[in-house]
């Protein structure tokens, strides 16, 4: 089995896929965003609770491949507690990582997200990884950027 493949399906990704964090619904006062990847049928429903410009809570539901679901799980984990501005910054750091560009790894603790680096070697799968992040951006009203 190729090492690229092992880089793609790292243990931590499979763990998020198998045991997704923040799966489910949020109560009232939340923004709900439905997004899908029309070319492949992956879909995510993201719930965000934004209080005073901060993402107080995030949960998701969805259907998709290991990469898209693991990425959604990791995304909810890392944007919780961030200001909307920082969450958007982090999304763009993530997009740089997906495109195989040099990315800023000093401003935030990237944590599990960095495990998704291997996706950049699989251009057909980048959209799977970015779906949840695009949904988050839409949810905080940063649609122009999408």
């Amino acid at each position: 089995m190729s090492s690229n493949l092992d880089q793609l399906y790292r243990q931590v990704i499979m763990d998020h896929y198998k045991n997704p964090r923040n799966k489910g619904q949020l109560g009232e006062d939340t923004v709900t965003i439905n997004m899908n990847n029309p070319t492949c049928g992956d879909r995510i429903q993201l719930h965000l609770k934004v209080v005073d410009g901060k993402i107080a809570d995030a949960k998701f539901d969805g259907e998709g491949c290991s990469i898209s679901l693991a990425s959604a799980s990791m995304m909810t984990q890392s944007v919780k507690g961030l200001s909307v501005e920082d969450a958007i910054k982090l999304a763009h750091i993530f997009y740089d990582m997906m495109l195989g560009k040099d990315y800023d790894d000093t401003s935030f603790d990237l944590g599990d997200i960095e495990a998704l680096q291997g996706v950049s070697k699989f251009p057909a799968r980048i959209k799977c990884a970015t779906l949840a992040w695009k949904a988050m951006e839409k949810g905080v009203g940063n649609e122009d950027e999408i």
Binding site: Y9, K18, C40
Partner: protein, 406 residues
Amino acid sequence: MNAQEVRKLFPILHQEVNGKPLVYFDSAATSQKPVPVIEALEKYYREYNSNVHRGVHTLGTRATDAYEGAREKVRRFINAKSTQEVIFTRGTTTSINTVAASYGLSNLSEGDEIVITPMEHHSNIIPWQQVAKKTGATLKYIPLKEDGSIDLQDVESTITEHTKIVSVMQVSNVLGTINPVKEIGAIAHKHGAIMVVDGAQSTPHLKVDVQDLDCDFFAFSSHKMCGPTGIGVLFGKKALLNKMEPVEFGGEMIDFVDLYDSTWKELPWKFEGGTPIIAGAIGLGAAIDFLSDIGLDNIHRHEEELAKYAIEQMSEIEGITIYGPKERAGIVTFNIDDVHPHDVATVLDAEGIAVRAGHHCAQPLMKWLNTSSTARASFYLYNTKDEIDSFVKGLVTTKEYFGHVF
């Protein structure tokens, strides 16, 4: 038919992908192109590229002869009565849209019905949704049997005297089902409706005879049958086409143009506005020669054998669901338990094996199958049993690869 010999004519197949010999099992998306087709395109561009139907010069005549010669090849290939019934389009999608926009919009009104099936490709659903919305007609679906095939009883009970158009695919791009379009057409005609056949997945693999099918329209694409992309065909019965208005207006399709009004050329050119897809038509002609030399019956038999062999091997692996009826064309759509089809396709790709993963432009059918997406292996004349062995090995690898996670 000797697939090993046939393979030699497909240069693209002789390469390694990710360090493994390429196994191309995505021909239902698009087929590979043999040397005679590539050479026909090259020869046209190198030796006689010129616009058709206008120039008096020698190259113009050569190009026109080749373009119209390709139309005659298509006529023979589908056994149309006349080349006037053979319209070159951009592909199946454009062909169906032409029928919908021209025939559909001007012949349907509130109270009328359009009948299709839930297994259709999006290109045979959305044009009819649009016609229904614009005319007030109702879109109805023939229900499918549990194995994804069509029961003529259900066709009888869905089509009524209000039905004006019935449109069904001849071969399913997902299930491989071969639909009884001739019998469905007879029922449609009995009720005064016209019959449209989506032949995108049948023309590459089965002998098609539009007179025998007695369909009113038949649509197909070149790129799925060894020809170039960007060209396809709309067959229509002359009596209907004569009564229909063009949907694209401009050069090439006119007879006389005045300041405020114009008249159209005769069939088939009134439906071919603009400079046509000359190289594409010539390439399609070469593909038809190539397939006809081998024989569609031989191709069909070869693919049936491959599908049967693949299903036998795959059935031995635990945790694989295969969709579709027993009798099928060379398409095997499947899922592996607990592994998303994208992940299946990525692991197979690492083994040099190209399959399709997703909804296959058939979201209503995915819903019917109660899944969001599937993986699909589709075979063509250049595939072999050895390749299926590699593929089956790849499936086992995929299962093992993800097995340790679950």
